[in-house]
Amino acid sequence: MLDLTWLLIAVPLASAFVLILAGKRADAWGHWMGVAASATAFVVGFGAFLQMLGLDAESREHAVHLFTWISGGELTVDAGLLVDPLSISFVLLVTFVGTLIHIYSVAYMEHDPRRRIFFAYLNLFVASMLLLVLADSYLLLFVGWEGVGLASYLLIGFWNHKPEYATAANKAFIVNRIGDIGLIIAMGLLFANFGTLSFDEIFAEVGSVDTAQLTAIGLALLVAATGKSAQFPLQSWLGDAMAGPTPVSALIHAATMVTAGVYLIVRSGDIFALTETARVVVAAVGAITLIMGAIIGMAKDDIKKALAASTMSQIGYMMLAAGLGPIGYAFAIFHLVTHGFFKAGMFLGAGSVMHAMNDSVDMRRYGALRTAMVVTWVTFGLGWLAILGVPPFSGFWSKDKIIEAAFVGEGWQPWVFGLAALIGAGLTAFYMSRLFFMTFHGKARWTDDAHPHESPWLMTGPMIVLSVGSALLGWFLASGDRFTTWLEPVTGHAEEHDPVLAVPVIMTLTLLLVAVGVVVAWLKYGRADVPEEAPAPSLGVLVASNDFYQDSFNRAVLQRPGTHLTRTLVYADAAVVDGAVNGTGVGLLKLGEFLRKFQSGQVRRYSALILIAVAALIAGVVLGVL
């Protein structure tokens, strides 16, 4: 099975092409074919996983050579897959959650005339994402990286007949391009220093390269990661990306694609291991984003945007963990996996709620949905408990470890990062409980035409499976350090360090803050009445609900000057470059016009000219001028 891993990419990709090319005749069965392609990928991935489990820890890294990609003189670039515990973990997450979301989409997109195309894009995404995580070089990873970007763009703008949705797709695409430039620069630096882009060869030689170069590479990789993973300062696209259909938000913008940045950092762990500076910057970016996302999440009334802010914040946790070095890599991936389950589950729950409420996303018009939608309520509730970090649900096992790891270290770092992670947990508890209570508890504030009902089993089924994962996966993977041991061949063995605070103290503080967050949210949004119209916002709420005015900032500081710069350049191009070219032409034309006057066709005038010219020449010679 390990050698068949190319099927993981080939099957969904082929399915995507068939779905697009087959046209309307595939409308009847196309969506099931999409599901089958994703499920096949899962079966292959699971087979590879089982085979890998049978191997020793040392021999679990398996390289699959596909073909020689570029061959030119001394440069040969091979396309190959790297199957190791890290990539297989991603494969299982992507294909399993992906397949569930495919099934969910069959029902969710039932009334959409372009459902077949939707599944083609979903399959394209799965193929690209698997290529991203399985690639054995930065170059091949980049192909997958761009592929998921394309799929994300196509799916955010899936309902592009609405101009603002098309704009959101453009925004996501453009912000991601900025990150991609980071990755391109990183690849350029890597190639300049190592002469290759393959993971194996780079990580083998990494010790022989100057630290300053490694820091530059690390920071460029971080730029790439911030773009893809919606981290500060490139996070502005994620909120708008919620314009896409909800299954897309669940799969791409919560569970898988946005975690690609974390994958990139962890995969490049050998580089970051040698550059303290880049690591601290990664952790700082994570800490800033986790607090920022949580604060934004507290002020959103749009259920999907609140969840998007939460995704940002949770990926901030993963980034923070990844920035801590080997001690955090395994926890970053661990949290990534559990987050993939509970956040995808909650997004599907949100989709189910929207389905029932005429696609309204305004939580102020929800309320008391627990009686109308029991399955959604319970599954969402499990996800809610998981993200809060309530023991024994998934999030407790992964997030608590990150908070503990953040407190490890010397100097100011453990205090800053640890406290950020700790406060983040409290904020998370507040905004997620606010979301949960506003949606499912309190009084019904439905619009008159809303008749909430439970979704069909095709939708609730995946939600139930994901909620089981949200509840149990963390415990299963954490018991006996299963997951960290499994990842050890890739992430390296982490030395045990004691946090600056005792572990029980940290745990108690975390749970205490979580409890406070939940209670405050209950008092304000569960027990008390929630106004149907948002009250006049205080300054803090105003700032948070506008994403810290980052869009305005970007517009004023980046877009406007950029526009002016472009206009200046366009003007300069027209005036100087085009001016020189056109000027030459116009000058020659004028010269021709002038010379034309002498071509009168009058023989006598010609002879006069000849005479004058000869006389002038002779005069010149005689006078010594010529």
């Binding site: 002498f598 071509q599 009168s600 066709g601 009058q602 023989v603 006598r604 002879s607």
Partner: protein, 99 residues
């Protein structure tokens, strides 16, 4: 008589020829002007030959005469062709080559 006088004469003849070419519309007259200019040049060549005591100028004059004879043949043929086409030998009328 100093040979330099012939140079002055040649200059005068050249001037008369050039004036005829430039001022007369009749192609035949202009053509005669050209001939006059050629012969002025011949005279100058012979005069210089005498002044310098070398034979080169006189040889050159013979060449010029041969060329002039050939030119007369071609030139008159052109004038006749133009006359047949336009019923006129005015130099100012044909302006097809105007740019």
């Amino acid at each position: 008589m100093s040979p330099i006088a012939f140079v002055y004469l040649a200059t005068v003849l050249f001037g008369i020829g050039a004036a005829a070419v430039l001022t007369r519309r009749n192609a035949i007259i202009a053509f005669m002007g050209v001939e006059l200019m050629l012969n002025a040049a011949n005279l100058a060549l012979v005069a210089f030959s005498r002044i310098h005591g070398e034979i080169d100028g006189q040889v050159m004059a013979f060449f010029v005469m041969v060329v002039a004879a050939a030119e007369v043949v071609v030139g008159l043929a052109i004038i006749i062709a133009v006359f047949r086409a336009r019923q006129s030998i005015s130099l100012d009328e044909p302006a097809e080559l105007k740019g």
